[in-house]
């Protein structure tokens, strides 16, 4: 084990220990936010793989999460399976859809791929998740209700065992994030990044474009689906609303805003996406200088849009990327790293 890998494992363990304890003292609403933050962070992490590493744009990541959520809901509510089995089925369903979406992506890139994925997100939002023809999958207009779930044979009710669900989600996120960071410098990761920089050059170097692009789409969808398949457990039911088109657009916007090339940015974005709107709507009302005001969810989405525009103009590498560059600059300016090749003791 190299020292670099050891450092990363240690960082993941510390992050897990610290983050796992944070929601303990808070009320149920914030515990729900914490679990939701990890679910959204999975969605953003899937874009780090697909857009940050492989350079493929996708506007349907919430669709993959939604397919995972519905498949898991179907397994638990329809077949009374153990929740871990449901998660596996959800991930498999999302992976399969990701590979299917990846097929047109073999020929497309850039804005045309954005158009196709936008269309897929809209078809699932308006048709698959809402139409009578797919009731066997979506559980009808009421969706699946997950009241009594078991995980590893243990009772897991959504309201009572929110913390347990959160800890499981967080552990899985830390593992996947660690794998993602390691993927970046591995042989497969280099091949994926070669596709991002130039498909022609990558193919010339012997990278199998078909295999790696399909794999990237499948893996990305699986990551989003892994988060989504926990949604029924956390929320107690599945409905189309959390996975509609605008969530997909928010995924793309927030992933880019936070820095689409960096794994920690996904965690940051997940917290931003789940906690900020809840805090705004919960505490954002009262009177200011004699005027009653109330901050609704719309303000959050306006902020996302405006921040994305400002970020793309001013900080192209995203919030995390910019902070990272500044920190490194300050670090080396302080003389800690010295010159480029100088090792510290």
């Amino acid at each position: 084990m190299t020292s670099r890998l050891m450092f990363r494992v240690l960082a993941a363990l510390i992050a897990f220990t610290v983050l796992g304890r944070i929601p303990v003292g808070f009320d149920v609403g914030f515990k729900f936010d914490a679990a939701l933050a990890v679910i959204w962070a999975f969605g953003l992490l899937s874009l780090v793989l697909l857009t940050g590493y492989v350079g493929q744009i996708s506007l349907c990541q919430a669709t993959f999460a939604g397919v995972g959520a519905y498949a898991a809901g179907l397994m638990v509510a329809g077949f009374h399976a153990d929740y871990m089995v449901a998660v596996l089925v959800g991930v498999a369903a999302a992976f399969a859809l990701g590979v299917i979406v990846g097929i047109p992506a073999l020929r497309l890139r850039g804005i045309t791929l954005a158009i196709v994925t936008l269309g897929i997100a809209l078809v699932f939002d308006r048709y698959v998740f809402q139409d009578h023809a797919f009731e066997w999958f979506t559980g009808g207009s009421a969706g699946w209700r997950v009241d009594h779930a078991t995980m590893f044979g243990l009772q897991m009710d959504s309201s009572k065992h929110l913390m347990a669900a959160y800890v499981v989600l967080l552990a899985l996120f830390c593992v996947v994030a660690l794998l993602m960071v390691n993927l970046h410098d591995s042989g497969a990761g280099r091949r994926l990044r070669a596709i991002r920089d130039s498909e022609v050059a990558a193919a010339t170097m012997g990278v199998n474009l078909t295999r790696y692009k399909l794999l990237a789409f499948g893996m990305s969808a699986a990551i989003a689906g892994l988060g989504g398949s926990f949604y029924p457990l956390v929320a107690g039911s599945v409905s189309p609303q959390p996975f509609w088109l605008f969530t997909s657009l928010q995924f793309a916007a927030i992933a880019v805003l936070m820095g689409v090339r960096y794994v920690p940015a996904a965690a940051l974005g997940g917290v931003f996406m789940a906690v900020v709107p809840d805090v705004l709507t919960r505490f954002g009302h009262g009177t200011f200088m004699g005027h009653a005001y109330e901050i609704s969810y719309d303000w959050f989405q306006i902020a996302v849009g405006v921040l994305l525009i400002v970020q793309l103009i001013a900080l192209p590498d995203g919030v995390w990327g910019d902070l990272r560059a500044r920190a490194r600059h300050a670090w080396s300016a302080a003389g800690v790293l010295g010159g480029r090749k100088v090792k510290v003791a």
């Binding site: 804005i111 954005a114 158009i115 269309g119 809209l122 989405q301």
Partner: protein, 298 residues
């Protein structure tokens, strides 16, 4: 046979809607190289401004035609100003960036406009439409009654396509617009005012979006999301025109309208037309060489 004719008429009306929405996308893409995902949202916002003038601020003693005229004029002026503001505040700063970055930035515009509208005019709420022609007026064609508003839409779509096409081709300003889209640097070396051309492109695009939005209101469930989501049908029509050709875009819009309408004879589903639009998009992209778009995307 009568039912088939009726569905054809409905499909052509729907196609006119798609064509109108797609024309603005093609115009902006051709002249600025930005694939505008926020086109529907921009049209939606201006349409709601017109709606506000018509239903909120018009005086009850005014005749309907005056209120309608005022609403449309105010909506269009607002649209032009919004296009100008967006160009100054946003798109001027990303002119040299990659097409994908420009497209993602329009998603930011979409999210902001969409939420601002739902903040002001409330989301998922039925709004009364604005009728340009009298609501009850119909014409008989082959025994099928056709609403006057349908005819207005079809005529406007055709007129705008050929009008804009002629403007781009035969006027000197249109030529400078095309020059800027080919290469901003060499256009500016030839003395073309690039900033002004870009600003006019955005004003014009926003204007077309608003016009489409106002014309469409009687035919859709008029709320803040439905006009924004029309973007996917509009993009399908625009892709049929290769994101370049205005007449082909209008043709594509009508074709898509018919393709989305005929299945509703057998399948009663609100979401199924979206699937048709997606299949059309994929088919067009697979058949046409996708790299053909990249050349126009400069």
């Amino acid at each position: 046979m009568g039912a088939f004719a009726a569905y054809t008429i409905i499909g052509l009306g729907l196609g006119g809607i798609f064509s109108l929405a797609a024309l603005g996308i093609v115009l902006i893409y051709r002249t600025t190289g930005v694939l505008n995902f926020a086109h529907g949202a921009m049209g939606m916002f201006s349409t709601f401004v017109a709606w506000q003038v018509f239903y909120g601020w018009s005086h009850p003693f005014w005749p309907t035609w005056l209120a309608t005229l005022l609403a449309v004029v105010v909506g269009l002026i607002f649209a032009a100003l919004m296009g100008l503001a967006l160009e100054f505040a946003v798109f001027r700063w990303v002119r040299t960036r990659e097409p994908v970055v420009k497209a993602v930035i329009t998603i930011g515009v979409l999210l902001a406009l969409q939420s601002a509208a739902s903040l002001i005019w409330k989301n998922n709420q039925y709004h009364l439409p604005i009728y340009l022609a009298p609501q009850q007026a119909t014409f008989q064609l082959a025994g099928v009654p056709i609403g006057a508003n349908y005819i207005v839409i079809v005529v406007m779509a055709l007129g705008l396509a050929f009008g804009l096409g002629a403007f781009l081709r035969y006027t000197s300003f249109g030529r400078s617009m095309r020059a800027v889209s080919d290469s901003p640097t060499s256009a500016s070396l030839w003395g073309v005012p690039v900033n002004r051309v870009s600003a006019v492109s955005w004003m014009l695009g926003s204007l077309v979006a608003a016009l489409a939005g106002i014309l469409i209101t009687p035919f859709i469930n008029f709320d803040t999301t439905s006009l924004t989501l029309l973007i996917i049908d509009a993009l399908a029509a625009a892709l049929i025109g290769g994101l370049v050709s205005l007449p082909l875009t209008v043709l594509g819009g009508f074709l898509l309208g018919l393709l989305e309408t005929y299945p509703t004879i057998w399948i009663q589903s609100l979401g199924f037309p979206r699937l048709v639009a997606l299949l059309v998009i994929i088919a067009v992209l697979i058949v046409r060489n996708p790299r053909g778009f990249a050349v126009a995307a400069k």
